[in-house]
C-alpha cells in the first residue's frame, strides 16, 4: 500500500471525524463563494450603486473572509482533537515525522479540494435559488446567473493556500506535543478558568467606550474604526471574563446551584467557557453585522416617495444659462441616436417660492396650464385665483397646509387664492397655475425661466441616456443655471435602488446568519459524541430522560440566544449611529422589523436543531 493510498484509506475509515471537518469547510467555501459571486455580479459592478451600500459590501466581504478563516481553523482544531490519539499511535508505531507530515498535508489538500468543489457547486445552486427568491421578495427583475470567473478565481486562490497553511499549522501543534499527551488526546481535561479583574474592567471599558462613542461622538472614519475595535474587543472580553464572573456568582448561590440540573449546566458552561467565549464572540459579531446590514439597507425602501410627472424628462433653464441651446441639442441628439420618437414642449414660467419656508414653485399661466393638463379647461380660473399641483407633505414635513386658501408668494404683496390643491404635475417642482392677468402681474417682479418637457413611449428603457443627459447638464453635483429630471432616474432611485439595496441587505443578512448558524451547528455536533457519553453515565446513576432533555434545552438555548442578545444590543447602537450620521430617518423601525425577522428565523433554527439533537441523545442514552 502506498502512502497516498494509506491517506485515502485513513479518510474513508475515519469518516465521522472527517465528515464534520469536510462539511464545515465546504460551508465556509460556499458562503465565501456566494458572496464573491454577488459582489462581482456584472449588474452590480456597472449599476449606479449607492456609495454606502458599496462600502458596506466591501466591508462585509472582509468580514466574511476573516470569519471563513476562523471557521476553518475552528473546525480543524475540533477535528484534530478527535484524532490526536491516532497521531500518537502512528508515532509510536514508528511513523517518521516526514511521513506524518506527508499524511497530514495530503489529507488536508484532499479534503480542501473536495470542499472547494462542493462549496462552489453548493454556492452556485444556492445563489441561483436566492437570486430568484430574493428578487421575487423585493419585486425586481432577477439577477441572472453568470459565469463568475473572478469569484471562482478568488475563492480557489484564497482557500487552497488556506488549507495548505492549515495543514502546516496542524503539524506545528502535533510536533509541539509529547507523544504521551497525543495518546491521551482529547481526554486531557481543561483547567477551570479564573476570571481576571483587570481584564473584566477592561472589557467593560471597551464595551462602554464603544457604545458611549456610538451614542455621542462625531462619526468619521477614525472614530468609526475606534468604535468597531472597541466593540469587538469588548465583546470578546465580555464573553471570556464577564461570563466567568456570572457563572461564579451562580455557583456561589448554593440554593440555586444545587437545584435539579442547574449544577450540571452551570458547571458545564464554566468548564467550556473558553470555547464558548470564542463561539459566542464570533456569532455575536457576525449576527450584529447581519442585522445592521439588513436593517440599514431595508430603510432605503421606505426613504423615498414616488412622484409622478406627466413627462418623461423635464429640463429647466434659467435666464443666466448660456448653454441652453447646446444642452437642448444634446438632449435631442440622444433621442435621435436611440431612435426615440419624442414630443417636446416649451413654456416660459416663473420660478418663485411659497409660504414661510419659501418652498420653490413654478408659476404657469392658465394658457400653458391647459396645454399641460387639458382637463383644466373645465375649471375656469377667476382673477387672483390659482390651482396648486404638488404634495402637501414632503420627507416628513408640511410644505403646504391642506386647507390653505391664501398662498403667499415670495416678494409679493398680494396672495393667491387657492381654488384647489391637486396631485403633482411635474417632478422638478410643484406647480401653481394662475390666470393670465395674475401671471402678467407676477412676471414683472420675477425672472422668467424656460421649461422644456419631453414625452415619449418606452420610458423605463432610457436610464442610460437619462444618466448621460443628467451628467451633461447637471454634472456631478449641481448646476445653478439649469435643472433636469427624468422619470427613469427617478424610478431607478425610488424603486430599483431601494429594492436592490434591500436585496443586498437580505443577502448579506442571510449569508451571515447562515454563517453564525453553521458555527453553532458544528459546535453542537462535534460535542455531541462527548455529551452522549456524559448523559449515558448520568443516566446510569438515575438522571431521567426528562431531566436530560431539560438540561440539554437550557444549554442549547444559551448557545443560541445569548450571542443573539448581545448582537441585538450592538445592532441597536450601530443603527443609532447610522440614524444620526448617515441621514437615515427611520432606521429603527426597519431595524426592529429586521431583528424580529431574524429572531423568528433563529427560533425556527433552534427548534429544528434542538429536536434532531435531542432525538440523537435520546436514542443513544435511553434506547
Amino acid at each position: 500500500m502506498t502512502f497516498p493510498q494509506f491517506a485515502y484509506k485513513n479518510i474513508t475509515r475515519n469518516l465521522r471525524a472527517y465528515l464534520a471537518f469536510y462539511l464545515s469547510s465546504s460551508f465556509a467555501v460556499m458562503i465565501f463563494f456566494m458572496f464573491a459571486m454577488f459582489i462581482f455580479h456584472p449588474a452590480l459592478e456597472t449599476g449606479y450603486m449607492n456609495n454606502i451600500a458599496k462600502k458596506g459590501m466591501v466591508f462585509a466581504e472582509w468580514v466574511i473572509f476573516v470569519f471563513s478563516i476562523l471557521f476553518v481553523l475552528y473546525s480543524v482544531s475540533a477535528f484534530l482533537k478527535t484524532r490526536k490519539s491516532e497521531f500518537g499511535i502512528l508515532t509510536i508505531q514508528g511513523a517518521s515525522p516526514k511521513q506524518l507530515r506527508l499524511l497530514i498535508t495530503l489529507e488536508n489538500v484532499f479534503i480542501g479540494l473536495a470542499s472547494i468543489i462542493t462549496g462552489i457547486i453548493g454556492g452556485t445552486v444556492l445563489a441561483k435559488l436566492f437570486f430568484t427568491a430574493g428578487s421575487y421578495i423585493v419585486e425586481m427583475e432577477p439577477l441572472e446567473l453568470y459565469f463568475p470567473l473572478k469569484a471562482l478565481g478568488i475563492t480557489i486562490g484564497v482557500f487552497l493556500p488556506l488549507f495548505v497553511l492549515i495543514s502546516q499549522f496542524t503539524l506545528f501543534i502535533i510536533h509541539s506535543e509529547e507523544v504521551v499527551s497525543l495518546l491521551k488526546g482529547s481526554v486531557k481535561p481543561k483547567r477551570e478558568p479564573k476570571p481576571s479583574i483587570p481584564f473584566s474592567i477592561l472589557g467593560m471599558m471597551f464595551l462602554g467606550g464603544g457604545f458611549g462613542m456610538a451614542l455621542f461622538a462625531g462619526i468619521d472614519i477614525g472614530s468609526a474604526v475606534i468604535i468597531t475595535v472597541c466593540t469587538v474587543i469588548g465583546t470578546y472580553l465580555f464573553y471570556s471574563q464577564l461570563s466567568v464572573w456570572v457563572l461564579k456568582l451562580l455557583k456561589r448561590n448554593k440554593k440555586f446551584y444545587r437545584k435539579g440540573t442547574n449544577l450540571l449546566w452551570i458547571s458545564d458552561l464554566m468548564y467550556r467557557v473558553k470555547d464558548n467565549a470564542r463561539l459566542f464572540f464570533i456569532v455575536s459579531i457576525v449576527s450584529a453585522v447581519a442585522f445592521t446590514a439588513t436593517g440599514t439597507l431595508a430603510t432605503y425602501k421606505s426613504m423615498f416617495t414616488t412622484e409622478d410627472s406627466l413627462y418623461e424628462m423635464e429640463f429647466l433653464s434659467y435666464s443666466s444659462n448660456k448653454d441652453e441651446n447646446e444642452q437642448l441639442t444634446y438632449i435631442q441628439q440622444q433621442f435621435e441616436q436611440k431612435n426615440i420618437d419624442y414630443e417636446q414642449s416649451k413654456f416660459k414660467v416663473i420660478e418663485t417660492g411659497q409660504g414661510s419656508s419659501n418652498y420653490p414653485v413654478l408659476v404657469l399661466s392658465y394658457k400653458d396650464g391647459i396645454k399641460i393638463l387639458p382637463e383644466l379647461k373645465t375649471s375656469k380660473l377667476e382673477e387672483g385665483k390659482g390651482v396648486y399641483f404638488g404634495q402637501t407633505e414632503r420627507e416628513g414635513y408640511t410644505v403646504l397646509q391642506d386647507n390653505t386658501t391664501d398662498l403667499q408668494l415670495n416678494n409679493q404683496q398680494m396672495s393667491i387664492k387657492l381654488q384647489s390643491i391637486e396631485q403633482p404635475l411635474l417632478s422638478l417642482h410643484d406647480v401653481l397655475v394662475v390666470d393670465e392677468n395674475t401671471f402678467n402681474l407676477l412676471k414683472q417682479g420675477n425672472e422668467l425661466v424656460t421649461f422644456y418637457a419631453f414625452q415619449f413611449a418606452n420610458s423605463k428603457e432610457n436610464l442610460d441616456i437619462s444618466q448621460k443627459i443628467h451628467d451633461h447638464i447637471v454634472g456631478e453635483t449641481y448646476n445653478p443655471d439649469a435643472r433636469y429630471s427624468s422619470k427613469a432616474i427617478e424610478y431607478y432611485q425610488t424603486v430599483q435602488l431601494p429594492s436592490l439595496s434591500l436585496f443586498i441587505g437580505l443577502f448579506i443578512g442571510i449569508i451571515f446568519f447562515l454563517a453564525a448558524g453553521s458555527f453553532l451547528y458544528f459546535r453542537l455536533f462535534t460535542d455531541l459524541y462527548e455529551e452522549r457519553k456524559k448523559y449515558k453515565s448520568l443516566a446510569k446513576i438515575g438522571l431521567s430522560e426528562k431531566e436530560m432533555v431539560k438540561n440539554a434545552n437550557i444549554q442549547m438555548a444559551i448557545l443560541f440566544f445569548l450571542p443573539f442578545l448581545l448582537a441585538i444590543v450592538e445592532t441597536g447602537f450601530a443603527l443609532q449611529v447610522l440614524q444620526r450620521e448617515g441621514g437615515f430617518s427611520n432606521v429603527f423601525q426597519s431595524g426592529v422589523i429586521t431583528i424580529l425577522g431574524f429572531l423568528g428565523l433563529q427560533l425556527l433554527y433552534f427548534i429544528v436543531i434542538r429536536s434532531s439533537y435531542i432525538k440523537n441523545l435520546k436514542e443513544y442514552v435511553y434506547r
Binding site: 486531557k188 477551570e192 448554593k254 440554593k255 444545587r258 453515565s537 446513576i541 431531566e547
Partner: protein, 257 residues
C-alpha cells in the same frame, strides 16, 4: 432474613447480526445486608447480569425484584426515580464528570432530588470523612489518584442510602494498594450501614471481601462459595473454583492479598 434482591429465571438474548444468548436461567437471591460477589471468565455474562439488575438493560425473560419492587415493569420516568432512590452504582471507569469537582460529583444525586443545600453539606461531610476523602473535595477528577476517584464514586453511590449497591469491576482500573483501600471501604460500608452489595469482579482478592461469591460460566450459574470465618481460606476456595472454571488464567498470575 428477608431477601433484598431476587433474580428468577433470568435470560438475556442479544439480538444483532447473529443472536447470542448471554444469560441462561439465572436464579439466585441476595439477603438484606449481604455482600455478594459475581465472578466468571471474561465474556461469561457478568456485566450483562449487572446491567439487568441495575435496569440499564432489559431481560429477554425472567424477573428481577429489588426490595419488593419489579423495576422492569416501571415506566421510564419512574425507572429513573427508582434507580436514584433504590440503587447505587460503582463502575470500573469511575464514571465521574470532569466538569465537576469531587464534592459536586458526590452531591449530584442529591441535587437532582433537590435536597436542601444545608442537608447536602451535612451528608457530604459525614460520608467523605468516613471514606477519608474529605480533604480533597475541591479537587478535580484529574488531580486525584484512581483509588481516590473510586472512593469518590462510592461516596456518590451511597450518599442517598440506596438499598442495593451495585459495583462492576470497581478495582479493575486500580493498582493493588488502591484496590485494597477500595475493598476495605466497601466492606466497612457493608458492615456499618448494612448496605446490601453486589459486586462483579474477576479479581479473586477483591472477591474475598464478600460474604458469598457466585460463579457464572457461559451465561449459566456454575457454583457458589460462602465465606467462613477466615478471609485467606475463602480466597483459596475462590482460586480453586476459578481454576476449575478455566479461562481468565491471566488474572490468577496477579494473585495478591
Amino acid at each position: 432474613m428477608a431477601d433484598l434482591l431476587q433474580v428468577q429465571d433470568l435470560n438475556k438474548i442479544y439480538d444483532g447480526k447473529s443472536t447470542f444468548q448471554a444469560l441462561t436461567n439465572i436464579t439466585f437471591n441476595v439477603e438484606k445486608g449481604e455482600f455478594i460477589g459475581v465472578m466468571g471468565p471474561s465474556g461469561s455474562g457478568k456485566t450483562t447480569l449487572l446491567n439487568l439488575i441495575s435496569t440499564i438493560d432489559r431481560p429477554t425473560s425472567g424477573q428481577v425484584i429489588v426490595n419488593g419492587q419489579e423495576p422492569h415493569k416501571l415506566k421510564k420516568g419512574k425507572l429513573a426515580e427508582f434507580r436514584r432512590k433504590e440503587l447505587g452504582f460503582v463502575f470500573q471507569d469511575f464514571n465521574l464528570l470532569d466538569t465537576l469537582i469531587l464534592e459536586e460529583n458526590i452531591m449530584l444525586p442529591l441535587t437532582l432530588e433537590s435536597v436542601d443545600s444545608g442537608e447536602i453539606d451535612k451528608k457530604v461531610q459525614a460520608i467523605t470523612q468516613k471514606l477519608g476523602i474529605d480533604l480533597i473535595l475541591n479537587k478535580r477528577t484529574y488531580e486525584v489518584s484512581g483509588g481516590q476517584k473510586q472512593r469518590t464514586a462510592i461516596a456518590r453511590a451511597i450518599i442517598h442510602q440506596p438499598s442495593l449497591l451495585l459495583a462492576d469491576e470497581p478495582t479493575g482500573n486500580l493498582d493493588s494498594k488502591s484496590s485494597k483501600d477500595v475493598m476495605q471501604t466497601l466492606q466497612m460500608i457493608n458492615e456499618k450501614d448494612k448496605t446490601t452489595m453486589l459486586m462483579v469482579t474477576h479479581d479473586p482478592s477483591a472477591a474475598s471481601y464478600c460474604d458469598r461469591v457466585i460463579f457464572i460460566k457461559d451465561g449459566k450459574l456454575y457454583n457458589e462459595v460462602y465465606k467462613g470465618t477466615n478471609q485467606k481460606v475463602f480466597f483459596q476456595q475462590i482460586l480453586d473454583v476459578l481454576s476449575m472454571l478455566g479461562g481468565d488464567s491471566d488474572d490468577l498470575s496477579t494473585v495478591r492479598l
